[in-house]
Amino acid sequence: MRVDDILVEAARPLWRHKLRSLLSVLSIVMGVASVIALMTLMQAASQGVGRRLDALGANLVAVTVNPLAASTGGTPTLTLPQALSLAKIPGVAGVAPAAYAAIPAERAGREAPVTVYATWPTFTRIMGYHVAIGRNLSMRDESASAALVVLGSAAAQALFPHDGHPIGRTVVIGGEPYRVTGVLAPKGSLFGVNEDAVAILPLTTYQRAADNGSVTSVYVQAQNPARIRPLMRELADKLGQWLGPQNQYTVVAQSLVLGVVHRISRLLTDILAGVASISIVVGGLGILNVHLMAVAERIREIGVRKSVGARRCDILVQFLAEAVLIAGIGGVIGTGLGVALSQAIGQRLGLSVVVNLRIVEDALVISLLLGVAVGLYPALRAAALAPVEALTFDR
């Protein structure tokens, strides 16, 4: 039997039983589309988080004094000289001591909820911020305790919605006026926190205004991301000497957070892929059912074909090709639908969706293999029919 004849013979019953074929194809389409959409979206979400954490820097270590422990267990606070001395630990490329607070920023009757970072000029570089308009804070501003502020893009937009250029304008934070010296480029959200709703002040200016010389966090940049763990141990040792027991502070590396996020997202992707795969298997069972019915309905036809010279393998291939064709059509349409769905949902969720060709290939191969798997049994049954019994079969 020629290949073109196999295809024609396989396509003919599908065309003949359009509704039945359509339902079989649909069951595969749904399965494949859901697998592709879920996998692509999960991958996009995971990559989005990864990119954000990467932008923060795989070599970033955040040291934070536990505010609860500080408030309940006496006064184990970190001083600015202590924070700056962390820069002398071997392997540290730079530090940004900081105190932060959630205080609204105000201007001309407008109020914007912002996280205020009182910190050194190194903060923006270490945290992966870029100044879009104006300039960053300088060490001169720090030394002079200048009343200056660099606003995040969301904060600037909220406070200066129609006023154009905010540079040189004044905003009020914690009752104190600050002149805007720069606006940061948008960065987006991370774990639901809007990183553009920030206001960055000189640390000394904030400490003077708040009458508090303590530092709540230190952002430490490691020279070598591969040496993060030993550096974390050394930082912990230092903090232990100054602050006491471990529950008084935390030392967290972004790269480790990144690893955990990747592991969680991979686990979630696997679970979702498993759940979605069930729908493909259900689709396959639908094809199996339809094909068993088709063999039962076409026993006489099989007998006629055998009487004119069809061999077992001809019948086997014909019925198998029908199942593979259904699964293949379902796979192709499902892939297209899955890609379209993931793009549409990704756009709605603000995810940057890039279709992974590997997922598409896998989905197509799996759908074809499914066609073979579920088509084989009915095809073998059809092929094994004795010619005379098939020909004289009475329904």
């Binding site: 039997m1 020629r2 073109d4 004849d5 013979e9 003919r12 019953p13 003949r16 006489r300 036809e301 007998g303 006629v304 074909r305 055998k306 009487s307 004119v308 010279g309 069809a310 061999r311 077992r312 001809d314 004795a386 010619p387 005379v388 020909l391």
Partner: protein, 239 residues
Amino acid sequence: MVGREDVRGAEVTVQSLSRIYPHPCRTVALQEITLTVRPGEWLAIVGPSGSGKTTLANILGLMDRPSSGRYWLDGRDVTALSDRERALVRNRLLGFVYQSFHLIPTLTARENVELPLVYRGVPRRRRRELAEAWLCRLGLEGRLHHRPFELSGGQQQRVALARALIGSPRLLLADEPTGNLDEENARDMRRLFSELRDQGQTIILITHDWALAQSADRIARLEAGRLVGDMAGRTGYAR
């Protein structure tokens, strides 16, 4: 009407052929059948219902296997061929016509006729030409694209005959070919068989139709699975 060239009928020889069905209860359908059909001869097998005519046709058509005995087709022992070889012989050497036509309902008349050539690997265009030529020879030029349910019984039987003949078989087996036809169509079918015999086609015909049987060269009579008579037809000879 059925113009063909170079028809060379097969010689059919069976010796001590028996067919026993063990289930559900042991039934002897054929018993020690010994028979020879010469190349180009038309043999009619007659007998009452249940006498084993169709069983014999199925074995001669390699659709079933005998329980014992031997079967030679053109001098080649085909009794113990594998399923694959039997399919090849059915495709290359045999043609079948059945009482109930056995056309595939989803195929057109032309596609039904093409079917043996599909399994022979003949290219589509060549198959179409041959199928159309056969259907035209049998007076069905206006019915090429009709499906079986759109054809009368006589037309369906002519489609089935075209399908049987398109592969230039050496042996044509017909099981009650006029059983579902009216008198006029049955007469046409008799005429077609006569023409085929005249062209040298070996024909084995199972029939209740005495008029059709009498057109054959020989008439063999089966009763209770045994061959009880072998006589000349109207135009033939007895052995």
